[in-house]
């Protein structure tokens, strides 16, 4: 099992290197350090949200509301920053995380307590959260000149040597990796997504885990919402539309099974990087950015098929060992 997963990550690294090599043949500047740095910062938000998405998918669900959640958190903190410019940034960061937590908790309660299927729950909140963005903004944008300088500079400042945006992604990665690999609750997330009946019999608190993963996804969405609007220096009603599909794509490309039960953070980061490189390479190879969605759809389907073939092989291998 571990070997197979490792192989998936190895294959991904290989594919990413191949894409980088192919693109740099067409455009020599592509491999410059500054451009690679751009790709990393461009991918940071995707990495942050995809890690939350991964935990949800591992339990057998999916969070379709992440893009609307980003827009809602982003619009809320941008409006606050515009109307009350005096609020210090740490408070804004805490508020963004809190708003995200509330949005995620709503999803989590609907799934775990009300037992509504995850995709239906988050499809509904996708519409609801996006509608609330429109309600609170009145259809207006919060543009760069309405934001304070501290707000706009947040993602780019580098108090620890690397920009906050990248720092946030690195911190989220490390904390999540420790959480999901080394803590009991983290391991229970995998257990909850594999065989639910077995999970119940070994005493995994399914309802609590189901709630928890959406709450975590929400917290990360809140953080991402703040980073998104401050980075692009604008909060709009259609901020991040369709971004939920990118996070799901990053997961399935990274080997997270849509059936639940398996997936690694390294895989998800590689999946996000792959998408980031492809998006960054489109203009370089002369394709319009409008190609991004179609390529992503194609890659999602290809990755889902690959995952299902790997799943079947793993199961066949497991069966063979049982015959002893």
């Amino acid at each position: 099992m571990l070997k197979l997963l490792k192989r998936r990550e190895g294959t991904l690294v290989l594919i990413i290197l191949l894409v980088l090599a192919a693109v740099s043949l067409r455009a020599h500047g592509f491999l410059r350090l500054s451009n690679l740095n751009d790709i990393l910062t461009d991918t940071s938000i995707l990495v942050i949200v995809s890690i939350g998405q991964m935990m949800v998918i591992i339990t057998g669900g999916a969070d379709l509301s992440v893009a609307s959640g980003i827009a809602l958190t982003g619009m809320s903190v941008a409006l606050l920053n515009w109307l009350v410019p005096g609020i210090p940034m740490p408070v804004i960061v805490a508020l963004a995380v809190l708003i995200g937590f509330v949005l995620g908790s709503i999803n989590g309660l609907l799934v775990s307590a009300a037992k509504i299927p995850p995709i239906i729950t988050t499809l509904a909140t996708l519409g609801i959260y996006r509608g609330v963005v429109f309600l609170e903004s009145g259809g207006q944008w919060v543009s760069a000149h309405k934001m304070t300088e501290g707000f706009r500079d947040l993602p780019h400042q580098a108090p620890l040597g690397i920009p906050n945006l990248l720092l946030a992604a690195v911190l989220v990665t490390i904390v999540s990796a420790v959480f999901i690999r080394l803590t009991r609750t983290g391991r229970e997330i995998y257990g909850a997504g594999g065989n639910r009946t077995a999970a119940r019999y070994v005493g995994i608190p399914l309802a609590r885990i189901d709630y928890l993963v959406y709450a975590i996804s929400g917290v990360l969405v809140g953080l991402a919402g703040l980073l998104w609007v401050s980075r692009y220096a604008s909060a709009q009603n259609d901020t991040a539309t369709g971004f939920e599909l990118q996070t799901i794509a990053a997961c399935v490309i990274g080997g997270v099974s849509m059936l639940g039960g398996s997936g690694t953070i390294v895989g998800v980061i590689l999946g996000a990087l792959f998408l980031g490189i492809v998006n960054n390479a489109l203009p370089v190879v002369g394709l319009s950015p409008f190609f991004q969605m179609a390529i992503q759809g194609f890659v999602i389907l290809a990755a889902i098929i690959a995952n299902s073939v790997v799943d079947r092989r793993t199961q066949a291998a497991l069966l063979r060992t049982r015959k002893l």
Binding site: I120, L123, G131, L259, Q292, M293, A294, G297
Partner: protein, 336 residues
Amino acid sequence: MEGKSMPPLRTGAARALIARWETILVLIFVVVIVFNSFASPYFLNPSNLLDTTFSFVEKGLIALPMTLGIIMGDIDISVAGIIALASLVMGALSTAGAGTGVLVAAGLGTGLAAGLLNGLLATRFGIPMIAVTIGGISLFRGIAYAALGDQAFTKYPDSFAFFGQGYVPGTHIPFELAVFAVCAVLFGLLLHRTTFGRRVFAIGNNATASRFSGVRVQRMRLIVSCVTGLMSGLAGILLTSRIGSTRPNIANGWEMEVITTVVLGGVAITGGRGNIAGVILGIFLLGFLKFGMGLINVPGNVQNIFSGVLLILAILLPGYVAGAQERARLRRTQEA
């Protein structure tokens, strides 16, 4: 004993529940109609009333096969993407000078092909339909974006406009409504009067048991997926004809409304239970509700809040009703 007493009890409880649910629907429906007629004095005029159906029967056309899918346990969330793809193909052909007949065939053909792709991926690789169609949304609408960018196709033959804008000759019945009526009857017969329909319910209740009883589960799933694609293509034809243009964001977000309609109509989101009559009621209820919100100038984005809340309530309420009935039944048996 086990063959006789159990099934009637279950279907009896289910029937009572659906009856209750449909009563609730009719009541809400009446409230909506009364509200709308206060919001606009022109609403209850018969010809206006018929014209309001333009805004929702296209979604209703997709809700019909979606009902079969959800009862069977397969939810297709790529339907709006299929509309975009079908509209794109029709727009490209029309710009190249194709006639109305070719456009209709192309719209239906594209829908069928997309549904076939979804169905093959789901059945051949054992991937849940919902996961396949998450990729499908991105791929189908993505192709429309890749081909059109920020452009639009707006050149359609004059005769093509009839499908989405015309009326049944000699009446004031929109052609779209007539198409929907025919399809609704066909789907009602298919689901409730044929072995095919019985198999749909059987798979939704227990796919494994159905397979052991000789139902070709994978083939059934493939057929329903194809029909869903075909009906999405049909909806794409009517919508494109009605608005006379194709943009990549056409029908954006329709999947949520279609699923809401079906669930609102009393179909269990977990599969196995539902009927076409309830769904038709759901289609008109949500349609008139959204029309009423339009009358009092509620913006589309805010209307989505209502659809979303309604979707959640429509799943929660029948569960509570069923739970209450179950508790009442238990009390009765305890007393007896």
